[in-house]
């Protein structure tokens, strides 16, 4: 007989008790894993929602102000478009999207408007509101991938035309018009708009966003550069920065890379993102601690009761000459087997529960997290160990007859 056989025989002798202990651990861990998965996915979903607030870092010419940025004051200076590539290749972490722009004012029907040159692929990633509108085919508008996929099979009719134009190319004679501008100029899709002596076809009227974009007209960046005779020039790079990274010093890093540019954060956006992310993180931790306490209490209670019920056997083994280390090893071996198998079972059950219930409860997709498997096993084994350790140690340190008498 070996040590392992001794543990195995004890475990399998009472199959009902084995199943109860296994299920107790499994359900405790499943609760921990499922709630943590849903909370974690909610956090990710909220972070993505926050991206709808748009850019939170602006890279402007040295002498420009934020006011210049909003009023498209082209006289405030320029930056080379090559800065975008320089930023992309810099290895600085925390810049989710770079959106270069060149803006200018123009007159139409006696009123002043702003024409902004954009790179469609970059712009689409920073405009979550546009992505959510009916204007674009959702399948093509992942925030993770530049939408260069062929949309022929996923959209039809006018929508295909609009989407395809927007996503893949914005012709040099095409513009998108903000809703407010379209209303003031009474123009619709297909209308012609004269800007600084050049006629442009309105490819689409953007849905209202409640931002300055509603009063702007968008053309391809290179078209605007040609129109203003400023090839390779821009006057802002809008950056969607990871708010935590901004907090950790993203701005000084960009400043160091581009010393002749001015880097400013849009305070209220960063503050909102940071506060929300921190709040979500705290809530996640509170949930995790609570659920570990609740799930862990069930596991601990069972293991504690199990060791207490074995005191007569502990006493017998000690009477036969077993030392305290042997007794502790016996119960630790059992805790390890139950904790490990219960942890894996709990992870699988909890993940399936979260993936099934997440979309119904939190209206978010939940994906399996391999990282949680390690956590699940660690938690279940640790709790089983701790809960076994206290009564087993107590029993192992007393005289065998005391162990008998306490039965």
């Amino acid at each position: 007989m070996t040590f392992f056989i001794l543990i195995r025989q004890e475990l399998f002798e009472r199959k009902q008790q084995l199943m109860t202990s296994f299920l107790t651990i499994l359900l405790g861990v499943a609760a921990i894993v499922s709630i943590n998965s849903i909370t974690s996915s909610s956090q990710t979903a909220i972070r993505k929602e926050l991206e709808r607030l748009g850019a939170n870092v602006l890279i402007l010419p040295k002498d420009a102000t934020v006011q210049n940025y909003y009023t498209a004051d082209i006289e405030s200076g320029e930056l080379p478009e090559a800065y975008v590539a320089k930023l992309s290749n810099s290895g600085i972490h925390g810049m989710d999207n770079l959106s270069p722009k060149l803006s200018t004012k123009f007159e139409a029907e006696g009123q002043s408007f702003i024409l902004t040159g954009i790179l469609p692929k970059n712009e689409i990633r920073s405009k979550a509101l546009w992505q959510g509108s009916d204007l674009f085919a959702p399948a093509a508008l992942s925030t993770e991938i530049c939408p260069t996929v062929d949309l022929q099979s996923k959209a039809t009719g006018d929508k295909l035309l609009t989407t395809k134009r927007m996503v893949d190319k914005l012709e040099k004679d095409q513009v998108f018009v903000g809703s407010e501008t379209a209303s003031l100029l009474d123009i619709t899709q297909g209308s012609t708009l004269n800007i600084k002596g050049t006629d442009f076809v309105v490819a689409a009227v953007l849905p209202p966003s409640g931002t300055v974009d509603d009063s702007r007209v968008f053309a391809h960046l290179h078209t605007v550069q040609a129109l203003l005779d400023k090839p390779g020039k821009i006057n802002v790079v809008e950056v969607i920065g990871c708010c935590q990274k901004i907090f950790e010093g993203l701005v000084p890093k960009i400043n160091a890379l581009l010393p002749d540019a001015k880097v400013v954060t849009i305070g209220h956006v960063v503050e909102t993102q940071l506060k929300t992310n921190q709040m979500m993180e705290k809530i996640s931790w509170i949930f995790l601690v609570l659920i570990i306490l609740v799930g862990g209490a069930g596991i601990a209670n069972f293991m504690y009761a199990n060791v207490n019920a074995r005191k007569k056997e502990i006493g017998t083994l000690m009477a036969l000459g077993a030392g305290s280390k042997f007794v502790l090893k016996l119960f630790f071996g059992k805790a390890l087997i139950l904790g490990f198998t219960g942890g894996i079972g709990g992870y699988v059950t909890g993940t399936i529960l979260a993936m099934t219930l997440g979309p119904y409860i939190a209206h978010i997709p939940v994906y399996p997290s391999i990282g949680l498997l390690g956590m699940a096993i660690l938690i279940s084994v640790s709790i089983a160990f701790l809960a076994s350790f206290l009564p087993a140690r107590k029993a192992a340190l007393v005289d065998p007859c005391i162990a008998f008498r306490e039965v």
Binding site: L6, Q9, T316, L320, G321, G323, S324, F326, D399, C401
Partner: protein, 221 residues
Amino acid sequence: MLEMIDVHVNYSMKGQTVKALDGVSLAIESGDFLAVVGPSGSGKSTFLQSLGGMLSPAKGRVRMDGTSLYDLSADHRAAMRKKHVGFVFQTFNLLPYLTAKQNVQVPLLLNGEAPDKQAEKAVELLDKVGLMDRLNHKPSELSSGQQQRVALARMLANNPRVVFADEPTGTLDPETGSQVIGFLKELNSEGRTIVMVTHNPKAADQASRCIRLVEGRITDA
């Protein structure tokens, strides 16, 4: 040689202290067969447990071949029991989830014997107590007499010099009880020291020496 020197053992029961052993002193020579008799609650089992290194006294010393048992740590006492002492309990104390053979293997496992050697020796001992046909039966599948014989085989596994038997015939029919007493006599004839607690006068008569305990004191030695 076993010695008890002014041993006191107290229990706390419902807030009151009960004297289980009240200044017991005794010497037992090696190879002796001692029977301990007395009424229920007189401290017989406490005497046996304390003498066997399983229950620490409140006061006094217990020596085994000159070594003071309770001056050792609990783990060292366990090592002494493993090496020199065998116990037979009234309720057998077999591990319910192990077979007869595996129960006999437990002391050998504790002693670090290889599994095949354990199995070989366990079969030999169970053969000695007449249980060759019950090797793979669990305690719940054995009669009381068979369980006590498994306990005897287990007790012998480490070849102890001293055997402590607490009411070994208490739950057995007279015939099986006689067999167990005969077995203990045989062990004594091999030179082992036997200390047996019993209510059974016939069993006590088989011992070479008998003491009587009343209210935790030796009244007849």
